[in-house]
């Protein structure tokens, strides 16, 4: 359940990103999460909702932009989408695959409303 730790990190980043003196309410938290990032999205949302009470983020919703994993085959050079580790290259069936994208775990922006 490392998603709980991740949710705690999220809260502390939000708190430090709101300019001092801003009395608004955080309503949206935008995240980029890659499909290979080892995060269970439901668990992350669940954890965040539990711990956000009585914080600056108590009314905030997570808006998650899922980033499709992408791999490049070392044998034939083809680039293709992957959803999980251990998938073979669709062109040549090699497992020598470098991950180009999909491990993102980033908070991109937050929205605050008065």
């Amino acid at each position: 359940m490392h998603e709980l730790s991740i949710a705690h990190s999220l809260l502390s980043i939000i708190e430090r990103s709101v300019p001092s003196g801003n009395k608004g309410t955080v309503t949206e938290v935008h995240l980029d999460v890659g499909t290979l990032s080892a995060i269970e999205l439901d668990a992350l949302v669940f954890s965040f909702d539990i711990i956000k009470d009585k914080t600056i983020s108590s009314k905030a919703n997570l808006i998650i932009n899922s980033i499709q994993g992408k791999g490049k085959c070392r044998s034939c050079g083809s680039v293709f989408p992957i959803d999980k580790f251990g998938e073979a290259c669709p062109e040549c069936n090699s497992f020598s695959i470098d991950i180009l994208q999909g491990k993102e775990l980033k908070i991109t922006s937050i929205s605050i409303e008065d």
């Binding site: 490392h2 991740i6 980043i13 709101v18 608004g24 309503t27 980033k106 908070i107 922006s109 008065d114």
Partner: protein, 288 residues
Amino acid sequence: MCSTCGCGSDENVSYHQPSSHKHIHEHTHENGHSHAHEHSHDHSHEHSHQHDHHHDHSHDHSHEHKHEHSHKKTVIDVEKDILFENNMLAQRNRGYFAAKNMLAINLVSSPGSGKTSLLEKTLIDLKEKLKFYVIEGDQQTTNDADRIDATGTKVLQINTGKGCHLDSHMILHALETLKPENDSILFIENVGNLVCPAMFDLGEKERVVIISVTEGDDKPLKYPDMFHSSTLCIINKTDLLPYVPFDIKKARENALKINHHLEIIEVSCTKGDGLQEWYDWLNKKVGH
């Protein structure tokens, strides 16, 4: 509040050192780390969207449009890795290890694969040649640290309480107590868990995942993140191969499917088979 990093830790984490029989320190704060260096890379751009249009026309009548929204929405660009705090402290640890010419190895596995036994054996066999330190991570008890202490190696136990993994912040504090000498090897035995520790960089140079033949040979496929992030895989308890349906060839194939860079060593910690290969690997990594 800690003097080094200015943190107020969010975990109920405790540190114990068996040889000194002392309880090092404990954090029990509400939540939120506040590090002294936290804001140095904060790029916060504020966009204020207020729609005030003023149109001036050249002909004789002029009018103004003013759209006012009752809710002012401010979007703040954050663009920050959610684990940046852990990653930043991991880099700090990495710098510490580099400056002291230390080799830090993060040992990860499910509970019961033989991490502590392998460690005990390694420490006893190599302690004349290499200088070792150990950080033990478990939710509760100092049992593992007591076993390591019995080998004569300086060890610190971290009890994570409810926590399912070690993080770089705990390692930073453990190092303050352990005070390792230069040119040494630090083993960090993580909490027995093949899932959560995968995400948390501790600043280690090598990550060694251990599986045993009493587990399934499809373990790499079931827990790919850990195998993908490791540099060496040790397959332990090979002396039990005649008694279990573990296909070692398939296990190797599965591990390489997940991570084609992964090195694999087969050992029997109790019988000693393959241990020399593991010791050679260690010596190679410290440059001997």
